[in-house]
């Protein structure tokens, strides 16, 4: 080509490129998105849609899973769901990655490295499910070999000394939790615990003793009805969809007050934000009560107090006093006297909130109604948590913010089904529906008498009223628990009572339910270390990261003779110590119901098949039970009633209901009397009315709280499973205004959406029903909320102990930064159990550990990080562990943002090494006149996963609340140093 040709070529090329590129534009045809498509959209459009519920927080948001030919295409928010309306938080948005993750455990594995420890590789080797069951059965049998079934002449297993224990899970569906509680009970053990103990055990204790139910009083969507929020939690991050409705209220003019040691994402939305010292919560709420009672008594809802609380009575139950407002003997006056000390000056000394700021907060919250208190771990994880929550509840009672839309004491529960798992009582002190297991043989003898009596003429209070006289030895107490034992006898195929039953005082006791409360979580791990626990079956829980003072847990899990079985999605920190690791399924891979924090019981439908050999949990439980049962039986280990039959030839232990004889046959009753599916178990837990032998059972539902959630008459098209209802339309004008969504799923009890609201549902349980009696015949009756709580009164205690007064006071955390405050307000720490180590208390002093540590959650990570730290989409947002500190503290210790620092505590003197996050969102505060530095760590990290790091719980303190056994994870002393 010569130059002429070259130029021609260039010209032609430019024309060509011009034409190529701009022709489309010049043609005037605009690209249209209407026809534009992608591979994802093509599949999504034609895919099959299945509803489910999010596995993360307890918001209960709806998911829609789209599949095509069995392949997972998309998981998005359910557009018609009343709570989230198609939206999802970042964790829920990543559920797709959770289900499809290639890091999931796919088949059962056994450990081949006999040594256990953080740095010991388990040496996993694949095995079959049958091999796993075989091993588990053997180990359970070995542990139970010499376990006594007979004590004197009585046949029963002791629930506390039993060497078999069970952990988890709040991530499991209700039916699976139900069967888990049943399984461990059938093994004769009450050593069962799960996540609820660590997060809201104090809520249950406090709200149950004040109101009757220990749950969130209102519900998620109800937030839109509030006009003023007092938030002592971080809902924008931990319960994001809850915050959706707080924002709806803000649009409607609501004011938001946020109290938090950190300025967090919820703080960013506050009208009033105040920083306080973690551990000062009780003083703040007592100060608020004082503000109303003394400064603005016109804001007291006197009518409410008079009609619906025990304020006008004396603490002996005399009354109501006509002059209760002024009479010094009334509960009201006693409360007033008790809170007098907490003036704004004192509140500032204790909590660090400046007087002027505190007054602004008090003024705002008490003057705007309905006012709503949202709280969570900030209040629940303390040694005085039960008392603080009671203070919150009392404040709301005084302001008349209870039993109405937009009000309430709203405990934000953490994990998707922690409400359900708590209701199903995977706890050492309860057996089902918040009823206790038998504690002594005397109770069982009384139970037999109760069974022998005529239902019509029995006397006492119907409906299992939570009424209890202090000595807990009479009929009224029994009426609470006996109907549940009776229901479990029938449903679980057991015998509980004396045999043959005619002479309850003298016959041998034969009881198939474990007798005696088990070990709560902190004590449980000490029992593992002691050697009384030999087998731990841990499902969907990660105590190696999530229990305060995780060092002790890891030490216990490393015990040579602990046989640990873990059923999980990923290789978690706890799984690292397991002998057997079993592959669990995600929540979209199986059917079942779950209960959100607002007590809504919703159904999850199976959308995809689980991968590999992952087994749906219901099937796992059935196969596990059958295998263990067969192994035990062939070794002669059976139910106490069966042993009684073996020891007494010719005796056939059975119960007679009406005209029918029910054998003690747990195998026939497994998994439920209604069939093998999740629906079957659901029906058993929540049946409305069951007839046996021509007689209606006194309590038909195995779980009294869940009664009537199975109603064949109401929805025969859904086979009576009310949780499956998906009608998002309000039922009437009131429903439309307040957002009850009464036809969406079902809530407890009896579909009451706002607890304690009169007349909301004509059939609902709309009254307060706390126990209040000081003598066996002094029952105040229904609907008296307890400002003074008799069960929480122990007159022998010191003056500084709220238990002396039966009403809250402020108490310092066990590790307090100010020794003057610590002696003026001594900690309520239950010294029964050593803190830090089994042999000696590891308690730090401000001299050695001057900084206050609080722990917190991030929106993008969940709890112990077992799920979220294995998902790249979430790890991308927060890739590493850190400690938040103020620029002042950073300067003091010579640290810049991103430097490595050591966070040390008395439990971990060498400290953990984490990155310093230096931010103005943290500031020093003044406590009792002195500057105190607060630092904060997220607790999601551990040594497994894509993102690893030290666990905050290696540093925290395991001192427990005396009324609830919940550890004080939110406040301890540390020392932060440059690494």
């Amino acid at each position: 080509m010569d130059r002429r040709e070259f130029v021609k070529a260039v010209g032609a090329a430019s024309v060509a490129s011009f034409a190529l590129g701009d022709l489309i534009k010049l043609s005037g045809v605009k690209a249209s998105a209407v026809e534009a498509t992608s591979e994802k959209w093509d599949k999504y459009r034609v895919g099959q849609r299945t509803p489910s519920i999010c596995p993360y927080c307890a918001g209960g948001c709806g998911l829609i899973v789209t599949t095509l030919g069995g392949e997972l295409v998309e998981i998005e928010g359910d557009p018609i769901h009343p709570i989230n309306r198609g939206a999802l938080c970042s964790k829920a948005a990543a559920t797709f990655q959770l289900v499809s993750s290639d890091r999931r455990v796919l088949y059962p594995m056994k450990r081949t490295n006999p040594n256990k420890g953080k740095d010991e590789d388990p040496g996993w080797e694949q095995i079959t499910w049958d091999e796993a069951y075989q091993l588990i059965g053997e180990k359970v049998k070995d542990a139970l070999e010499d376990y006594p079934y007979k004590h004197g002449d009585d046949y029963y297993y002791n629930g506390k000394d039993n060497p078999i224990s069970w952990l988890g899970s709040s991530y499991w569906n209700n039916e699976e939790c139900y069967l888990g509680r049943k399984l461990i009970s059938l093994l004769g053990s009450n050593n069962v615990e799960h996540q609820a103990r660590k997060c809201h055990a104090s809520t249950v204790a406090a709200l149950a003793s004040t109101f009757g139910f220990g749950a969130m009083t209102n519900h998620i969507v109800d937030a839109k009805n509030s006009k003023c929020f007092l938030i002592v939690s971080n809902p924008a991050e931990s319960h994001t969809m809850e915050f959706k409705w707080v924002r709806a209220a803000i649009e409607d003019g609501a004011k938001v007050i946020v109290l938090d040691p950190r300025f967090n994402r919820t703080g960013s939305q506050a009208h009033i934000y105040a920083r306080y010292r973690s551990g000062g919560e009780a003083a703040i709420f007592l100060g608020l009560i004082r503000y109303v009672l003394y400064e603005h008594p016109e804001r007291i809802d006197e009518k409410f107090l008079e009609e619906r609380t025990n304020a006008p009575y004396t603490i002996d139950g005399t009354g109501p006093l006509m002059d209760w407002k002024t009479n010094p003997d009334s509960v009201f006056s006693k409360l007033k006297a008790l809170v007098d000390d907490y003036d704004p000056e004192e509140v500032e000394k204790i909590s660090g909130i400046k007087e002027a700021d505190f007054e602004q907060i008090a003024e705002t919250f008490s003057s705007i109604k309905p006012g709503n208190i949202y709280y969570s771990m900030g209040t629940t994880q303390h040694t005085n948590a039960t008392q603080t929550i009671r203070a919150q509840a009392i404040l709301q009672l005084i302001l008349g913010n209870m039993g109405k839309p937009g009000g309430g004491v709203n405990a934000l529960r953490g994990i998707s089904n922690v409400q359900g798992s708590t209701d199903m009582n995977l706890l050492s002190h309860l057996i089902m529906g918040y009823r206790a297991p038998p504690k002594t043989v005397d109770e069982i003898r009384r139970y037999q008498k109760w069974k022998n009596s005529d239902a019509e003429t029995r006397g006492g209070y119907s409906g299992g009223a939570t009424y209890t006289p202090p000595d807990k030895s009479t009929e009224q107490y029994d009426l609470r628990h006996f109907p549940t034992w009776n229901a479990l006898e029938y449903h679980w195929g057991l015998y509980v009572g004396t045999w043959p039953g005619n002479d309850p005082d003298n016959e041998p006791v034969v009881c198939d339910l474990p007798v005696g409360l088990g070990n709560p979580i902190v004590q449980l791990f000490r029992a593992v270390k002691d050697g009384t626990i030999k087998v731990m079956i841990c499902n969907g829980e990660n105590p190696a990261v999530s229990v305060a003072n995780a060092n002790l847990v890891r030490d216990a899990l490393s015990s040579e003779h602990l046989f640990l079985v873990v059923d999980e999605l990923f290789e978690t920190e706890t799984a690292h110590y397991a002998d057997i690791l079993l592959p669990g399924t995600t929540q979209v891979e199986r059917d079942g119901s779950i209960t959100n924090t607002g007590r809504w019981i919703q159904w999850r439908w199976k959308a995809v098949d689980p991968p590999g050999e992952c087994k749906p949990e219901l099937t796992y439980l059935t196969e596990l039970y059958q295998k263990i049962r067969a192994t035990l039986k062939s070794a002669g280990i059976k139910l106490p009633s069966e042993k009684y039959e073996d020891d007494n030839t010719g005796v056939d232990v059975k119960k007679t209901i009406g005209t029918e004889e029910i054998q003690n046959d747990p195998e026939a009753a497994w998994p439920s009397r209604f069939g093998d599916s999740a629906e079957g178990v659901y029906k058993e837990a929540g049946a409305k009315s069951i007839q046996v032998g021509g007689v209606t059972l006194p309590q038909s539902a195995a779980n009294v709280i869940y009664k009537n959630i199975y109603d064949l008459d109401l929805r025969p098209d859904l086979d009576g499973i009310l949780a499956k209802r998906r009608d998002p339309n309000p039922v009437d004008l009131e429903d439309a205004e307040y957002g009850y969504y009464k036809n969406w799923a079902v809530s407890w009890m009896v579909n009451q959406r706002i607890l304690y609201q009169k007349d909301e549902s004509k059939k609902g349980v709309d009254y307060f029903f706390t126990w209040f009696a000081i003598s066996p015949d002094k029952w105040l009756g229904y609907d008296k909320a307890a400002i003074f709580s008799k069960p929480l009164q122990k007159p022998g205690k010191a003056d500084t102990n709220p238990l002396k007064h039966g009403m809250p006071l402020h108490n310092e955390p066990l590790e307090s930064p100010d020794s003057a405050l610590a002696s003026k307000y001594p900690s309520m720490w239950d010294s029964r159990f050593k803190v830090g180590s089994p042999d000696e208390d590891l308690i730090g002093t401000p001299d050695d550990y001057p900084h206050v540590l609080t722990t917190f959650r991030l929106a993008e990570h969940m709890q112990a990080g077992a799920m979220t730290r294995n998902l790249p989409w979430l790890v991308e947002t927060h890739p590493s562990m850190f400690v938040e500190m103020s620029p002042e503290l950073a300067q003091d210790i010579g640290v810049s943002a991103g430097d490595d620092v050591l966070v040390k505590s008395a439990r971990k003197p060498d400290g953990i090494k984490v990155k310093a996050m230096v931010t103005d969102r943290m500031q020093p505060i003044t406590v009792n006149g002195k500057t105190v530095h607060e630092v904060a760590m997220p607790w999601h990290w551990g040594f497994k996963g894509i993102s690893t790091g030290p666990s905050a719980n290696e540093v925290t303190i395991d001192a427990v609340d005396v009324s609830a056994n919940i550890p004080e994870t939110k406040a301890c002393l540390v020392k932060v140093e440059k690494a």
């Binding site: 590129g21 992608s38 915050f243 300025f263 929106a859 989409w873």
Partner: protein, 252 residues
């Protein structure tokens, strides 16, 4: 019919549902990130990260008050996209509903668009040799709103017809006593399909001042193709012909 998205940072709680949902819809991997003191992670948009939340903290020493803003950042889908103008192979098109979409198959990785965009949005990936950015879920729109918008818990992202969005923006501007960026107060590149309603000056959010007209650099970049591409082609043709001549010479 034109559609738009209203971005309302005052309602944003920074939960990053949008960031994660976008990855899910577009099947993009999570990036390997490192500790970020400011929380923004990944620190910049990329081929795999179409959108992220920028965390902006303000603290007043004297009053002690703190403000934490969460700013959703991504392509604003301009009316007259500089990137589309600059692209020599017209791999970027503005759909009439609003989305400005990169056709990855056509992209030749020349990065003209990267230079042209006044917001610095299109991102190049050295592994695939392509550029990509938020495409306003052109595959969903208008039957379904963009994935990020559906996921937002607090309505900080709203989807609708452009008219309705503008109306909402005006109302909200009044409530906030603020500023609309993308239309009304400021129309970068002729106006954008992602419209921000702000409670403070755009500079507080890091939004640049961009005029209505295309930046002057864009035609330069664009028309450089007239020289570069043909020059390359021409050069190639010359080489081919030169070689042929040489071969011929050799034969002779």
């Amino acid at each position: 019919m034109e559609y738009a998205v209203l971005v309302d940072p005052a309602k944003c709680i920074g939960c990053r549902a949008c960031q994660v949902t976008c990855k899910r819809w577009n099947n993009r991997p999570g990036e390997e990130t490192t500790f970020s003191n400011e929380w923004t992670n990944p620190p910049k948009l990329s081929f795999d990260t179409y959108t992220h939340i920028q965390f902006k903290l303000e603290h007043d020493e004297t009053t002690g008050s703190t403000k934490w803003r969460f700013f959703n950042w991504r392509c604003m889908h301009c009316h007259e996209p500089a990137c589309a103008e600059a692209c020599p192979v017209s791999a970027i098109t503005k759909h009439e509903e609003g989305p400005v979409v990169v056709n990855i198959n056509r992209c030749i990785g020349c990065k003209f668009c990267v230079s042209a965009c006044p917001f610095g949005i299109p991102k190049f990936d050295p592994d695939t040799g392509k550029v990509d950015k938020c495409h306003m879920c052109y595959d969903r729109v208008p039957h379904k709103e963009p994935a990020c918008v559906q996921s937002c818990p607090t309505d900080a992202l709203l989807f609708g017809t452009r008219d309705s969005i503008i109306q909402k923006a005006m109302k909200r501007k009044e409530e906030l006593n603020g500023y609309v960026y993308g239309d009304i107060d400021n129309k970068p590149l002729g106006g954008t399909s992602f419209i921000y309603v702000l409670d403070a000056e755009p500079s507080v959010f890091g939004l640049p001042e961009v005029g209505e007209a295309l930046p002057a650099t864009v035609p330069v970049i664009k028309y450089s193709k007239w020289l570069l591409v043909p020059a390359a082609l021409g050069g190639l043709a010359y080489l081919v012909s030169w070689r042929r001549r040489r071969m011929k010479e050799k034969e002779e």
